[in-house]
Structures are given as C-alpha cells and as structure tokens.
C-alpha cells in the first residue's frame, strides 16, 4: 500500500524470562483504524509503549515513513509525528484544559529554548491548542482546571493534547476506559472523525466500539499475534473464537 505510515517487523520485548511481546509484525496506514485487542496481559500496552519509545524493543524493527526508528527516545518519536494517549489519564491536573493543550502544542515549536517572550503570545501555538480543544469537543471547558473535569472530559483532554502535537499517527491506549455510555458514544464519534486524516492504532476493550471503528483488527494472546484481518475475518476465525472471544460477544458485534 502506498500510504503505509508505520511497520513493525518481528517486534519482541522480554522482561527477564517473560516474553511480553513476541514477533509482532503489523502495518498502519493513513485513513484506517487498526485495533489491537486481546485479554489482559496479552502485551497490547507493551506494544504501544515500544512504538511510542517508552520502552525499547528487545528485538525486531520499527519503520516509520521509510526510516527506522527502533529504540528512539520517546521525545524524538513524538517530534517525528507519532502521538500517544495513555490508558491511565496522564494530564497536568493543576493546569487548565487550554494550558494542557498549549503545552502540548508548544512542543511543535522548533525549540522551547526561548526565555524572554511570553509563552502565551505565540499565535501558532495558541491556534493549534484551540483547534485541538475544539476537535475533542472541549472548547467550552478551555478555562477549567483539568482536575475539575469529569472523567470522560479528562479522557477527551488526553486525546486533545495528543492532537495538539499535530501527529500523523495516533497511538491510543484504551481511550474509552472507564467511560459511561454517552461519553463513549461521543468518543467513538471523535475517533471516527479523526480516522480520515490520521493513521491510528487503537487498543481497546470495548468490543462494540472496536467493531464499529476498526477496519483492521489484530488479536493478541500471550504476546503473540493470534490472528489479523478485517472485522469479518476475525469474527469468522475459529482460533479467535476459541481463544478469546466468547461467541456471544461476536453475535453482538
């Protein structure tokens, strides 16, 4: 495919004797949501952490837009255009929603080694922050302290901060975690709207959302890829049925 953004080749991570991720190869493309599902401890978060540079792989390669980025530091990977959100909300609670996004957007200045001009007077940064807030549906909460936002709004802010860094590839670790039905629906709409312009890797437990959003699914069990394919292929896979998905879940999807 021409618009492949990121590929992994035989990516593995071992912690001591434990293989958290074994030989995972996948491909992420612009305009397509790629979901990774699997039971707890399947290695999904470890996979995201390797792609975002929070962990360095034990073996294997990561290629991003034609260049190898295996083992790059997290900040370098972010500056290349890979943004991530965290499973546990990881925002600056003492700052307002806007300030959170402003800080995220400021990271796209060529350098923040600027000492004398007020941080709030950089128009490019302000515009990017406001746009990200609006995209995530938080424009009315800009001046609210992050700690005063509801859980769902904090999750939205998490995504907004990620967007404020103008990423080409989004790595989203359980964006729906702990959300109510209404909040979930809003988040699903948000992710859908983002799909067109971005490549996206989505780790999620909410099967309804996954089957609504994803064009490609990878099922992981014990660190290995069990099956990869379209939602239909995954539904039809006997191996997946047996290992992970209850038949009832599939009926719902």
């Amino acid at each position: 495919m021409t618009d492949t953004v990121l590929q992994t080749h035989e990516l593995s991570k071992r912690f001591g004797g434990l293989a958290a991720v074994s030989n995972v190869s996948l491909e992420l493309n612009v305009g397509r949501i790629h979901a990774v599902i699997g039971p707890n401890g399947a290695g999904k978060s470890t996979l995201i952490n390797m792609l975002s540079g929070d962990l360095s792989p034990t073996s294997g390669r990561i290629v991003y837009r034609g260049g190898e980025i295996t083992g790059f530091s997290a900040d370098r990977i972010s500056r290349l255009g890979i943004g991530r959100s965290y499973q546990k909300t990881n925002i600056f609670l003492g700052f307002t929603a806007y300030e959170n996004c402003r800080l995220a957007a400021q990271s796209r200045l060529p350098s923040s080694m600027r000492f004398f001009r007020r941080a709030t007077t950089y128009h490019r940064v302000r515009d990017a922050a406001e746009k990200a807030l609006a995209q995530a549906g938080l424009e009315n909460r800009a001046g609210t302290l992050a700690s005063a936002l509801s859980h769902g709004e904090q999750r939205q802010l998490e995504i907004a901060m990620c967007l404020a860094t103008s990423p080409k590839l989004l790595l989203l670790d359980e964006p729906l975690a702990g959300m109510g039905a209404e909040e979930s629906a809003r988040m699903v709409e948000l992710l859908k709207s983002l799909a067109a312009g971005h490549a996206m890797l989505l780790v999620e437990h909410d099967m309804d959302a996954v089957f609504t959003l994803a064009e490609v699914l990878t099922v992981m069990v014990n660190g290995c890829v069990l099956e990869s394919g379209t939602p239909e292929q995954i539904r039809a896979s006997p191996a997946v049925r047996e290992a992970y998905l209850g038949t009832e879940d599939l009926a719902h999807g």
Binding site: F115, A119, M161
Partner: protein, 321 residues
C-alpha cells in the same frame, strides 16, 4: 482583594521600604540587609530548581562558593580588581561548573539526585579544601572590593556600603524580574511541566534532559552572582561557603518562605537570617534551637510563610463574603 494584586502591592511596599532604608538605618543594619538580599538572590536561584523544576539539589552552594573563589583568586593583593572582568569570570566559572555537574547529576532523579548533588558539592569542597593553591581550610582574602570604573568613569563605588547596598538591591530586583520573565516564557512552561510530570513531557516531544540542564545552569549562574557579591562584601572566602550546610540553609529559606513562588525565597532569606541573629543572641548553642525550629517548620508550616499568608487571606475573604 485578589491575591495577585495583594502580592504586587506587598512587593512594591517592600521595595520602597528597602530603597529608603539607608536614609534612616545605621551601617550595621545596612550591611545586614545587604547580606540578607544576597542570600535572597541565592535562595531564588535554588527555588528555580526546587520549586519550579522539581530538582531538590543539596549541592547548590557549590556554585555560590565557587564564584566567590573566582573573585578571591583573581583579585590582586594591592589593588582592586575590575568588576567588569571578575564578575563575568565568576559567573562563567559557576555556569561551567553547573554545566559539568548538571550533565552528570541530571542522569539521576529523585532520591539519587539529592544524594549525588550533595556528593558533587562535597567533591568541590574537598578540591578547594585540600589544595594549597586555594588557601586550604583557612580560605582566602579579597583585599579590596572590585572597582566598577570603566574607561575612567566610576559608576558606583563598592567600597561605600551605601553604594554596595543599592547595587545588591538592584540585582535582587533584577533577578526577581528576570526569573519571572523566564518562568512565563516557553522555557518556563516546559520546566514547570517537567516538575509536574516529566514522563508526559517526554511523550509530548520535549527532550527534558536538555531543559533541566539549562535550568540547572541558570540556577548555578545566579547562585554564582550571589556568591560573588557575598565574597565582595565580606572580603573573605573559605570552603564552608561550598559546604552542604550552606545548601541546607538555602533550602530552608526556600521552604520557609514558600517554594514555587519567587517572593517566598526572598521572604525566607529575611526570616532565616533574622532568626539566626535572634537565636545567636539567646544562647551559645543556638544551632540546637535552629534545628528544632527547622523540624517545627517542616511539621507545622509545610507551605511556608507565603502559604500561611495566602491561607489567612482566603480566610478573611471568606469572612467578608
């Protein structure tokens, strides 16, 4: 009254009072206030690291002492050294030391950082203490205060204690404004972000080590500024200036005043030195009282005087409502 306006008024009143003080105060108190303001500069520089960036350094006195030694080593015995040569050299020396030490200590974090900063300051302490060149444990003298003459024009005379006072007052105000500006800049936003959540700052794309290192160097340089004028005021340097007791006292000033505010360390410097004078007048074993006082502050005044004032302000506001 909003807190920010109350603070602005308090700062202005304080500045005016300090500016007028030499008209009424006698020499002893003018020199005492000079000393306090020098320590206030030192404490502000430490607060930049501790209160804003979250780097609890127990070795900050190394840069304070080092700059003083640069002056002492450069000053001739029979004439005054030029301020315009020795001050940049002292600041440069402190900055260079902060760059080298920072490069090593910032590879660690948390408890390790505290221990390693202490250990490196101690290394410099021994370097100066053990070397005959620096005068060993006896220290070294600065026989004449640096001269500010430039192409024959004398802007001010540091031998005059009133001039010295106003120079230090201007520097303290200048450092306050400079740090305030830096804290509001993009750089300031980054270091405050690092204190709150360094990991997230990295995942947002900030190479945090670099920012912490620059911050460490700024802090070290400003500490050097204070150390230079301390040496100039007392005309004497000894290894104790680099000791961890000096760092500990500065940390205490930051906490007592209220860390994470620039006003706090200034307040803390005034309170600590005045208390020191008070305790010294009480008993020969005043360090016992000081130790007890420090423990009490940690237990009962964790947000310092600034936090106490803010709390009282909120209380009054609530009553007025």
């Amino acid at each position: 009254m909003p807190a920010s306006r109350a603070l602005t008024i308090a700062l202005f009143v304080g500045l005016v009072a300090l500016a007028l003080f030499p008209l009424f105060g006698d020499k002893y108190y003018i020199q005492l206030l000079t000393k306090i303001m020098i320590m206030a500069i030192f404490a502000m520089s430490l607060d930049l690291l501790v209160g804003y960036t979250g780097l609890v350094s127990l070795g900050h006195a190394a840069f304070f002492g080092l700059a003083g030694y640069v002056l002492a080593m450069m000053a001739p015995q029979d004439a005054a050294a030029s301020l315009w040569i020795t001050l940049p050299a002292a600041l440069g020396g402190a900055a260079l030391a902060a760059l080298i030490i920072g490069f090593l200590v910032l590879r660690t974090s948390g408890i390790y950082f505290i221990m390693v900063t202490l250990a490196f300051a101690q290394m410099l302490f021994f370097f100066i203490h053990d070397s005959k060149y620096f005068g060993g444990s006896d220290g070294a003298y600065v026989y004449f205060r640096p001269t500010a003459a430039l192409t024959g024009v004398q802007l001010f005379d540091l031998e005059n204690f009133n001039h010295f006072y106003y120079v230090v007052l201007a520097l303290m105000a200048g450092v306050y404004v400079l740090l305030q500006v830096i804290l509001r800049s993009p750089f300031g936003a980054v270091i405050v972000g690092i204190r709150t959540n360094e990991h997230r700052m990295r995942s947002l794309g900030y190479p945090t080590f670099r920012y912490k290192l620059v911050c460490f160097v700024i802090g070290g340089t400003v500490a050097g500024l204070a150390g230079y004028f301390n040496a100039a005021q007392f005309g004497f340097v000894n290894p104790e200036l680099l000791s961890w007791h000096q760092s500990g006292i500065a940390l205490m000033m930051v906490l007592l005043g209220g860390m994470g505010t620039l006003f706090g360390p200034v307040l803390g410097a005034f309170a600590m030195i005045l208390l020191e004078q008070l305790f010294q007048g009480l008993t020969e074993h005043w360090l016992l009282v000081m130790g007890g006082f420090i423990i009490a502050v940690v237990l009962f005044l964790p947000h310092g005087l600034y936090g106490l004032a803010a709390q009282l302000g909120r209380k009054r506001e609530a009553e007025n409502d």
